[in-house]
């Protein structure tokens, strides 16, 4: 990032307090993901049936769950897993979808056709159900959740990368690069690739939130991370049974945290877009 970009970033934040808030939240979540386990006041896995289903108190800020585990500790520790899954899947789809879209937009022809068909096929599936099916078929392990989340985001990345590439394929600098002796692959990876990077980064931060939701949704259904691992989706699912009976905190805190995290990433996505490309702000 050049200094002018930084200056612009600072300007965006100062002009848009919402983005500032998102940055703050982001820092908080990243902090929780890194330090979570050492900050947690209790062992997130330790049960204590004597203190089951305690409402929030000074001892247990978010209360305790059915078997007396400290919900605050669990929510805190879960950040690493949830954000990790989301980040890994976004990174994966960035690599897969970004390259496929780039190649598809740049070369056109049969490459475009093939990539388009694959993306079409994925899109023709109801995405969440496809993710469920992949996880159900391959087994509910974290790598499979990451893979499933990446696959259902694939068409989106392909679409964005392709559109951006097509826009630049005819750009003068691509011809200039050819004139300067770059071959197709070189032009693709070294000239066009870096240029669509900002848009892809925006795309990544926008899909982070969706990736978190997706992973949590899978866990909610029972096809995600396995109990007793602390994970927001599972915790909401477990807590769901207690809402009507009045133990609202069991589901509410993980749910609210999940929501805040997604909210933060979505706002951040907008913010990053402002920074990268002020004209595209929406």
């Amino acid at each position: 990032m050049s200094s002018s970009t930084l200056r612009h970033a600072r300007h965006v934040v100062s002009e848009n307090p919402v983005t500032g808030l998102a940055l703050l939240l982001f820092a908080f979540f990243v902090g929780a993901a890194i330090l979570g386990p050492s900050l947690a006041p209790y062992d997130p896995l330790a049960s204590n049936t004597m203190r089951a289903l305690q409402p929030p108190s000074a001892l247990h800020w978010f209360g305790t769950d059915q078997i007396g585990r400290d919900i605050f500790s669990r929510v805190l520790v879960a950040a690493r897993l949830d954000l990790g899954i989301a980040a890994a899947s976004v990174a994966l789809v960035f690599a897969m979808g970004g390259f496929a879209g780039l190649a598809s937009g740049f070369f056109g022809g049969w490459v475009d056709m093939l990539v388009g068909r694959i993306a079409d096929t994925i899109m023709a599936f109801p995405l969440f159900v496809l993710a469920m099916a992949i996880v159900a078929a391959l087994g509910n392990t974290v790598p499979n959740i990451v893979l499933a989340t990446a696959i259902i985001n694939f068409p989106l990345y392909v679409r964005v990368a392709r559109a951006e590439t097509v826009q630049r394929r005819e750009a003068g600098f691509v011809d200039a690069a050819r004139i300067a002796g770059h071959r197709d692959m070189g032009v693709l990876l070294r000239q066009v690739g870096p240029n669509i990077m900002p848009i892809m980064v925006v795309q990544m931060s926008l899909t982070m939130g969706y990736a978190i939701l997706n992973a949590a949704g899978l866990s909610f259904i029972g096809l995600g991370v396995r109990a007793p691992t602390p994970e927001w989706g599972i915790m909401v699912a477990e807590g769901a049974a207690f809402i009507v009976s009045g133990e609202w905190w069991v589901a509410l805190f993980p749910g609210a945290t999940l929501m805040t995290a997604v909210f933060c990433f979505n706002l951040l996505g907008d913010g990053v877009r402002d920074i990268v490309d002020p004209r595209r702000r929406t």
Binding site: S2, S4, A171, G172, F173, D175, A176, A177, R178, I179, A180, G181, H182, R183, D184, Q191, P194, N195
Partner: protein, 340 residues
């Protein structure tokens, strides 16, 4: 380098580029159920022949859509021709696929200055990166050598060395134009194609860039193909000029004469339409209407037929070929007459 011997430079005045019967047709994508019938073709460049001597500047003029840009892409070997020949020095380049030409030894000898300097520089490259790119790729220059060569090219183009680490958006239009030129001449090409290099510039800057180009041609001994829609500028810079209409050459000749006494009715209309500082001339020739479609044109009709103020039925049945006239001039019109 892929085992091709670079063309040895010839003496000034010898033929550098010999383009013969060059055509480029683009198939139109048509969605037929079984792909039946012949696809329609856009005749972007049709049977174009011309030569360019060493040290010469050839102007290329015509309306938008006349095939100038395609011709430029063909002779800079960014696109493969449908048919025809492009001889560069002693070498035939038309058969060499554009993909292969990317790393050819002669790649460095044909360079281009793009129309919009701002757009033709990778926004993520500094001026130095942009100028260094062809040097590194085509000449294999690296390290301090590279830096020296970049600075040399920049200095030649009047670009202050301290601007070299700026990104394109941090440069003014004139400075960007200089970066574009420096990049193009960095490899010391024999043929430089200038695609409307001053179209985006204000007149005050345009002058300096044009003067720079003239100076560079003299010091580096390059040949230019200069594409522009501004006839005044073409006249200032070019020795000879080619006038194109709908993919075909309608007139060529020494620039001064072509503009002073155009032979082809299209050239006449074009010259008449150029505004002049000495005010409007009443009754000047007007070319109303638009050019015909370049898709599957009638091979027997003059492309200008229908818009031509003097055309007759004959023009619709018999496509005029380029005819030679005195003073090294040619025109493709049945009714063109020897200039008085």
């Amino acid at each position: 380098m892929i085992g091709n011997e670079p063309t040895p430079p010839g003496p000034d005045g010898s033929t550098l580029l010999d383009v013969a019967e060059l055509s480029k047709r683009f198939p139109l994508r048509r969605k037929g159920w079984f792909g039946g019938g012949h696809p329609s073709l856009v005749h972007a460049v049709d049977d174009v022949s011309f030569t360019l001597s060493r040290g010469e500047t050839l102007g290329l003029v015509g309306e938008s859509g006349c095939g100038k840009s395609t011709l430029v892409r063909l002779i800079t070997r960014l696109t493969d021709p449908t048919s025809g020949s492009i001889r560069f020095g002693s070498r035939e380049l038309a058969d060499l696929p554009a993909k292969r030409f990317a790393r050819d030894a002669d790649r460095a000898r044909i360079q281009i200055v793009f129309q919009d300097a701002g757009e033709s520089i990778n926004p993520r490259f500094t001026a130095a990166d942009a100028i260094a790119d062809p040097l590194r790729k085509l000449k294999g220059v690296t390290g301090p050598d590279l830096k020296a060569k970049v600075e040399e090219a920049a200095t030649l183009c009047g670009l202050p060395v301290e601007l070299l680490d700026r990104f394109p958006h941090q440069l003014s239009g004139g400075q960007r134009a200089r970066v574009g030129i420096a990049r193009a001449i960095a490899t010391r090409p024999d043929l430089l194609v200038l695609d409307e290099p001053t179209a985006a510039l204000d007149v005050s800057v345009q002058v300096t860039i044009l003067q720079l180009l003239v100076r560079l041609r003299e010091t580096l001994g390059m040949s230019y193909v200069f594409v522009s829609h501004d006839l005044n500028v073409v006249r200032l810079l070019c020795d000879r000029v080619i006038v194109m209409y709908l993919g075909r050459i309608v007139e060529t000749g020494p620039a001064e004469q072509v503009f002073a006494k155009p032979l082809h009715p299209y050239t006449r209309g074009l010259v008449a339409a150029v505004p002049r500082l000495d005010g409007v001339r009443d009754g000047a020739l007007r070319l109303a209407g638009d050019p015909k479609s370049p898709i599957d044109p009638d091979p027997h009709a003059c492309r200008f037929h229908g818009r031509c103020p003097i055309g007759t039925d004959r023009c619709g049945l018999d496509m005029p070929a380029l005819r030679r006239f005195g003073g090294g001039r040619e025109a493709a019109c049945h009714y063109a007459e020897e200039p008085a």
